[in-house]
C-alpha cells in the first residue's frame, strides 16, 4: 500500500494505543499528530476527545484505518489487529518500558521518529533531573514495602516489574523482589512473613480505609498504609515522576 499524501515525518498521523504512549506523545510535542487513541487514554484531557480505536486486548482495525494513520504506537505488537494495521502500511512502533530509565529512552525515541527530536530530548532530560533530585533525597535506610496491586485475588509486583523500579527509586525495598513475575498472586501469609513496614494501595475507587483496616488487622496497628493514585503509578509514562515525587513526600511526611 502506498504512503498517504504528505507521508513525511512532520505529517504523521499517529494512533496512540496505550495510555502511557498517549501521555508520552503529548509530552514530546507530538500531540497534534495523534489522530486516534486506545481505551483508557484519558490524559492529557485533549486526548479524551479523540476517537477510541482499540483496547489492550484488541485493535478495532476498521475504525483505526478510517483515520488514515501512518504510524501506530502500541504496547505489544502481538495484540490482535496490529498485524492487520501493519499489512495496511501503518508503521508499527512498540513501547513497553519496564524501568524509569526506559521511559526516558522511549520519550527520546518517540520524539525522534515523530520529528520532535529536540522537544523529546528536553522533556526526557527534565524528567531525568527530577529523578536524580529524588535519588539525592531518599536516605540510605530502605523501608520494606508491600505493593498491593490488587486486593482480590491478592496480587503484588515482582522484581522485574516497572512498579518495582519506581519503588526502588523512592528508596523502598519491595518484599517480592525475588519473584521474577511482573505481577504475582500471593497469599496474606507471605506478606505476614515478610513484615513490611509500609503497604501501598493504588487507589482507583476502592476504599483506602477498608484496606487499611484489613492490613492493620494482620500486620499490627503500627503498619503504615498509604494510597497512591493508580494512574500516576502504574502507567509507564512521564507522569510516573509526579507519582514518584508524591510517594517520596508521603513516605517522608509521617516519619
Amino acid at each position: 500500500m502506498l504512503a498517504w499524501p504528505g507521508g513525511a515525518a512532520a505529517g504523521e498521523r499517529i494512533l496512540a494505543l496505550a495510555p502511557h504512549v498517549c501521555e508520552m506523545l503529548y509530552a514530546v510535542g507530538a500531540g497534534r499528530e495523534v489522530v486516534g487513541r486506545g481505551d483508557y487514554c484519558d490524559y492529557p484531557v485533549a486526548a479524551q476527545a479523540l476517537p477510541d480505536v482499540g483496547s489492550a486486548r484488541r485493535i478495532y482495525v476498521e475504525q483505526a484505518l478510517r483515520l488514515h494513520p501512518t504510524m501506530a504506537v502500541v504496547m505489544d505488537a502481538t495484540t490482535p489487529g496490529v498485524a492487520q494495521l501493519a499489512r495496511a502500511g501503518v508503521r508499527i512502533v512498540e513501547s513497553h518500558p519496564a524501568t524509569i530509565a526506559a521511559i526516558l529512552d522511549d520519550m527520546r525515541r518517540l520524539g525522534n521518529i515523530t520529528g520532535h527530536a529536540v522537544q523529546g530530548r528536553q522533556a526526557a532530560d527534565r524528567l531525568g533531573r527530577r529523578v536524580k533530585a529524588i535519588a539525592a533525597r531518599v536516605s540510605g535506610k530502605r523501608v520494606s514495602v508491600f505493593y498491593e496491586l490488587w486486593p482480590r485475588p491478592l496480587m503484588s509486583v515482582g522484581g522485574d516489574s516497572f512498579i518495582a523500579d519506581v519503588l526502588h527509586h523512592a528508596g523502598l525495598r519491595n518484599i517480592f523482589d525475588k519473584s521474577s513475575l511482573e505481577s504475582v498472586r500471593v497469599g496474606v501469609e507471605s506478606v505476614l512473613r515478610a513484615r513490611p513496614g509500609l503497604v501501598i494501595v493504588p487507589q482507583e475507587k476502592q476504599s483506602l480505609t477498608a484496606r487499611r483496616r484489613f492490613w492493620r488487622k494482620w500486620l499490627g496497628p503500627k503498619v503504615r498504609v498509604i494510597g497512591m493514585p493508580a494512574d500516576l503509578f502504574q502507567r509507564p509514562g512521564p507522569r510516573v515522576v509526579d507519582g514518584l515525587e508524591l510517594l517520596v513526600e508521603k513516605v517522608g511526611r509521617s516519619g
Partner: protein, 311 residues
C-alpha cells in the same frame, strides 16, 4: 472390615490435615506453632483455608457421585448440566453491578447457580440422556454469555473473574462452621439416599420393579446435587476434576455400594482439595497458583494410574 476402613480414613484425614496446616512457604509444626506470627498464620490463615477446601472438595465429590448415578453416565460431574456456567454468569453480573462489594460475586454465583438449575429442572422429566444433552447445550450457551460479558468488562474485572473461575479457597468472609454443617448435612442426605442410588444404578426399570418411585427420587436427587454444587461454587468458584475423579476413585477402591462410596467421596474429595490447595500455595511460594490447576495435576495422573491398575 468396616472398622478398619474407618480407622484408615481417620488416619488419612489426620495426615492430610497435618500436611495442609504445616506446609507453606515455611513449615510450621501444627502441634507446636509457638507464638507470634507462626501461630497467627496457622490459626487465622491456614486453618480456615484447610477447612474451606475440605468442605468444598467434599461437596463437589458428593455432587459428582450423585450426578453420575442420576444421569447414568460416568463422565458426569457437578458442572455437567451447566451450573458452573450459569453461576459464573451470576458472579460476573454481581461484579458488574457492585464492583466494590466483597460478597456480590458469591451472592451472584449462588443466584446464577439456581437460575441454571431451575432451567435444567424443566428438562428433568425427559430422562437421563436428554437431560444430559440439554445440560451440555445450556453449558455452551452460558459460556457464550460469559464471553460476551468478559468482552465488555474492564480489565481488572476480567482478572477477578478469571481467578474466580479457576477456584479460590482463601476467602476470609466464609462462615466456616456453616459450611462444615452443610457438608455434614449433605453427607447425611447422601447416606439416606444411598440405597436408592444403588437401585438406580441397576437401571430405572429394575428400580421401578423393586417398587421405587423413580421420577420422584430423580427429582430429589437432582435438587440435592444441584444445591450442593451451588454452595460449593458460591464459596470457592469453579474447581474442576474433584467432582469427576473422586467418586470414580472411591468406586475403584471400595466397590460400587453407595453406603461406602458416599462417605468415601465426601472425605476423599475434601482431602484431595486440601492437598491441591496446599500445593497451590507452596509449590511456587511466595507466588500462589490457582487451586483448579492443582486439582487437575494431582487428580488426573492418580485417576489414570488407578484405571490401569484396576483392570
Amino acid at each position: 472390615m468396616t472398622g478398619m476402613r474407618i480407622m484408615g480414613m481417620v488416619v488419612l484425614i489426620l495426615i492430610v490435615m497435618i500436611i495442609g496446616l504445616g506446609a507453606g512457604e515455611h513449615w510450621i509444626n501444627p502441634l507446636m506453632p509457638g507464638d507470634g506470627v507462626d501461630r497467627m498464620i496457622l490459626l487465622d490463615l491456614r486453618l480456615p483455608r484447610v477447612l474451606i477446601a475440605f468442605s468444598v472438595g467434599g461437596l463437589l465429590a458428593l455432587a459428582g457421585a450423585w450426578f453420575q448415578v442420576l444421569l447414568g453416565n460416568p463422565l458426569a460431574e457437578p458442572y455437567v448440566l451447566g451450573v458452573a456456567g450459569s453461576s459464573a454468569v451470576g458472579a460476573i453480573a454481581g461484579l458488574m453491578l457492585f464492583p466494590h462489594s466483597a460478597v456480590a460475586m458469591s451472592a451472584g454465583a449462588f443466584i446464577g447457580a439456581w437460575v441454571g438449575i431451575i432451567i435444567v429442572m424443566a428438562f428433568a422429566h425427559l430422562g437421563a440422556g436428554r437431560l444430559l444433552l440439554a445440560g451440555v447445550v445450556l453449558a455452551a450457551f452460558w459460556s457464550a454469555v460469559i464471553a460476551l460479558m468478559m468482552a465488555v468488562l474492564p480489565e481488572r474485572g476480567v482478572m477477578r473473574t478469571m481467578a474466580w473461575m479457576l477456584g479460590d479457597v482463601s476467602r476470609a468472609d466464609i462462615p466456616i462452621a456453616g459450611l462444615l454443617l452443610i457438608w455434614a448435612i449433605a453427607l447425611a442426605c447422601g447416606m439416606w439416599v444411598s440405597r436408592s442410588l444403588d437401585m438406580l444404578l441397576l437401571g430405572e426399570r429394575h428400580a421401578m420393579a423393586l417398587g421405587m418411585d423413580v421420577p420422584r427420587i430423580r427429582r430429589r436427587l437432582l435438587l440435592l446435587a444441584s444445591a450442593v454444587t451451588a454452595v460449593a461454587v458460591a464459596t470457592a468458584g469453579t474447581i474442576g476434576f474433584v467432582g469427576l475423579v473422586v467418586p470414580h476413585l472411591t468406586r475403584l477402591l471400595f466397590g460400587s455400594l453407595h453406603r461406602l462410596v458416599i462417605p468415601a467421596s465426601a472425605v476423599g474429595g475434601g482431602l484431595l482439595l486440601v492437598l491441591a490447595d496446599t500445593g497451590a500455595r507452596t509449590l511456587l511460594a511466595p507466588a500462589e497458583l490457582p487451586v483448579g490447576v492443582l486439582t487437575a495435576m494431582i487428580g488426573v495422573p492418580l485417576f489414570l494410574w488407578l484405571l490401569v491398575r484396576g483392570r
